[in-house]
Symmetry: C2
Subunit: 247 residues, 2 copies
């Protein structure tokens, strides 16, 4: 139920390569092949990794940093359609060209595989295809959940939804769980948040100020956020506070 579900790392601790997104069920032979066709690429904050419509000759996953998927209309209106966090997969097996712009919002490292050999491997290896199907279904769920946010939520609920998603991801990553306050740094500018939420950056700024005034969040500087009560934040987001998240 997160925006881009992180891959479960549990059964990959001893994985000889880091491409956990794909090798959830490690198998020595496959990994050897993957190892042979893989390479790393680094990008600077702000750099465009892929332009919409470009030929894509690789697939891969994010090792560190954050990237965004965005669509743009001819008149310049833009909508972010996905957020890529470490371990998220990029690329469309079986597709020629990219459908969206992929932009690094922070310095970023990607682990890439040349597309053709990867597809060959996928065709020979059923559980890689199945793994990718599961990941794609997760992304589809996330996209559809976001459609509800974009279509029906108020500006305040939109902001709360985004903060809640980031807070919960960070909380589960740091293994401290959801009891007690959650502290994190916003990985996005106000403008990027606006592009994600279908708002203007002014509205984002105003609503964040409002949530701060109402003590739903605490702000130190512009980016450092403390969420004293995640339940309260999820209420503000219009979410069911017990949607399988508090176990």
């Amino acid at each position: 139920m997160t925006l881009n579900t992180l891959v479960d790392h549990a059964n990959c601790e001893d994985c000889p390569i880091r491409h956990r997104a794909v090798c959830a069920r490690c198998d020595a032979d496959e990994l050897t092949v993957l190892e042979e066709i893989k390479y790393y690429r680094s990008f600077e904050a702000g750099q465009t990794i892929i332009w919409s419509g470009d030929q894509m000759n690789f697939v891969g996953s994010v090792v560190s940093g954050i990237a965004t998927l965005t669509q743009t209309m001819e008149d310049g209106r833009t909508q972010m359609v996905g957020l890529l966090l470490p371990s998220d997969f990029v690329g469309r097996p079986g597709r020629e060209s990219a459908a969206y712009d992929v932009v690094a919002t922070t310095d970023l490292v990607m682990c890439c595989f040349r597309k053709k050999p990867f597809e060959d491997l996928m065709n020979r290896t059923p559980h890689i295809a199945q793994r990718l199907l599961q990941m794609t279904l997760d992304e589809l769920d996330a996209a559809r959940e976001w459609m509800l946010v974009l279509g029906r939520k108020t500006a305040r609920e939109k902001i709360a939804s985004l903060l809640s998603i980031i807070a919960r991801r960070d909380a589960s990553a740091s293994a401290k769980g959801l009891s007690g306050p959650i502290v994190f740094d916003l990985p996005l500018t106000r403008e990027a948040m606006a592009d994600y939420l279908g708002l203007t950056l002014e509205t984002v700024s105003r609503q964040i100020s409002a949530l701060k005034k109402d003590k739903v969040i605490l702000l130190e500087g512009k980016r450092h956020v403390t969420v004293p009560d995640i339940g309260r934040l999820m209420e503000e987001a219009g979410d069911d506070a017990d949607g399988g998240c508090l176990v």
Copy 2:
């Protein structure tokens, strides 16, 4: 680039079962197995096929009629997240329960497969998994395109986007192509359109009237639509009129 991309039927003309969504590359053995585990179900217009959260013990595809996928918030706000047309696939291999309400908006027939045997077959048959991956990627593209509609388009553009999608689907289904006027019946009520577009039904009604007044569409009664110029409609939708569609 449609809302829910229809499956290409070209290489399935002689398919012994009608479940074309899955058997794009027909293979006698698999089809025999599929034949054994399949059954049909009929639904009346307005009937809910699956409730969000229900156990789903089948997967399947739409044979005839139209269904919608919707999400609902506790306070009753609803957002449609997908439209299921004939040959569209329903179900999540590897998932326990449904994530959305599935509702028949017209009388509907589905071709179903019991989930467990279907999954077993999928695990044994790489190209079924690959086929499903392709279909899921298509749905993901459609969902993300819809995020742009929901997040950034005006009411008029939203209506034009929806009409354009339905018009283009009907045009390619009837094999008359996109030259000349396109005629079709709206398969959705104003309220359903509103739920899809993140609008109210009053706004939908007003914008349809406006498009009619401006001769972008012609209306006979409430549902019968003629699109004299699909290029004009796509312009109104804010789409690139040559996005690979006029070929």
